[in-house]
Amino acid sequence: METPEILNQLQTIFRSVMDNEDIQLTDTTTAIDVEEWDSITHIQLIVAVEKFFKIKFNAAEIRAFKNVGELASTIKSKLA
């Protein structure tokens, strides 16, 4: 799966978890840009991402996500 496609999927997942259809994601989106993105929705988000892409993150990977781009590139490397 290519990065734009992953981003697109992530956007769908974010919108559904945060219950907000207006969320627009880019590589540089962080929790500062999305009001509903707090430590609780983050867990729901990771659960949904793991389920959708059928992957599992380890503790270090989860700690390292600084923005959506990093999340997408970790997903990409896991799918490869």
Binding site: W37, D38, S39, Q44, I62
Partner: protein
């Protein structure tokens, strides 16, 4: 620093915006009394850090490290419905007896005492009810005192009592020695199962230890044996709280109360507080932690 507590909230938000947001939301509902207490608490902690050449930045770092561990544990817990640890000995080796881990973990936990509304509420619940017991306490014991927050209350409120603390972790005892001021406390570096004093106690506090052992009934029976016939105990334990050092899973209040009663105790005051402010279905689905706290007497 003028307002250390606000600085801590801001700094956490800077380092971990997701977590900072949640904290800021959750402390909003607590009254002005809370903010004063929190400020006093962190000023004190800051002085302790300063005396060992550290700053509050160290505490914040430990706290976020602990939160990251917890987030990962929670993720796996939501999937498996189980805690990742099953063995006390493993946890003892990897955590209590491992200064590199225990130092950040216990400092992180200390930081959480005023940052988490459920920790603050349990602490207030304890203070309020503990007051009524003071005249009857000549000998006080704390099991797994950890950082020493409750021990400090005992020292403040019981100037003439004997105050003993038993903890299996050297790191915990060292932190408690720094944190607790005024009064004298006797520390015993031991597994509580190996602690056999000659005289029994009038009051025993055991905060967040029950979930750390494989057989919580046996632990409460041990506590029972250390307590006078008319003695009272205060215990706390979280349900659904996956953490690097939790072994025994309590799923709900009933799980805890069943075990308390099996060990020969009766609950006479209790408090249940959810860790997150969420709609009940979401709390249920995400298996959100609930803090259970109770005063116990012998049946």
């Amino acid at each position: 620093m003028e307002n250390l507590f606000q600085h801590i909230l801001d700094r956490i938000t800077e380092l971990n915006p997701m977590h900072g947001k949640k904290l800021k939301k959750s402390v909003k509902s607590l009254g002005p009394d809370y903010f004063n207490k929190a400020e006093e608490f962190y000023q004190k902690y800051n002085r302790i850090l300063f005396s060992s050449g550290k700053t509050i930045e160290f505490g914040i770092d430990c706290y976020l490290h602990m939160c990251n561990d917890m987030m990962f544990e929670q993720l796996r817990f939501m999937e498996t419905g189980k805690y990742s640890n099953t063995s006390f000995d493993e946890v003892n080796k990897n955590v209590y007896d491992n200064p590199a881990v225990m130092e950040y973990h216990m400092n992180g936990l200390l930081m959480s005492e005023m940052l988490w509304h459920h920790h603050y509420k349990v602490y207030s619940f304890f203070k309020e009810n503990f007051n009524h017991h003071l005249p009857s306490i000549a000998r006080y014991l704390e099991i797994g005192g950890g950082h020493g927050l409750f021990t400090q209350e005992a020292v403040n409120d019981l100037p003439n009592a004997i105050i003993d603390v038993v903890d299996i972790s050297k790191s915990s005892i060292e932190l408690s020695k720094q944190f607790v001021s005024g009064g004298s406390v006797n520390y015993y570096l031991k597994d509580v199962y190996e602690y056999n004093p000659e005289v029994k106690y009038d009051f025993i506090v055991m905060g967040e230890v029950l979930e750390h052992v494989e057989d919580p009934v046996a632990l409460l029976k041990k506590l029972h044996s250390l307590l006078n016939e008319n003695g009272k105990a205060f215990i706390t334990t979280p349900t659904n709280a996956p953490t690097i050092d939790h072994v025994y899973l309590f799923r709900n209040r009933k799980d805890v109360v069943d075990i308390i009663e099996k060990a020969g105790f009766e609950v006479y005051v209790e408090s249940c507080i959810y860790a997150e402010d969420l709609p009940p279905e979401t709390a249920e689905e995400m298996k959100i932690t609930m803090m259970y706290a109770a005063f116990l007497k012998k049946k």
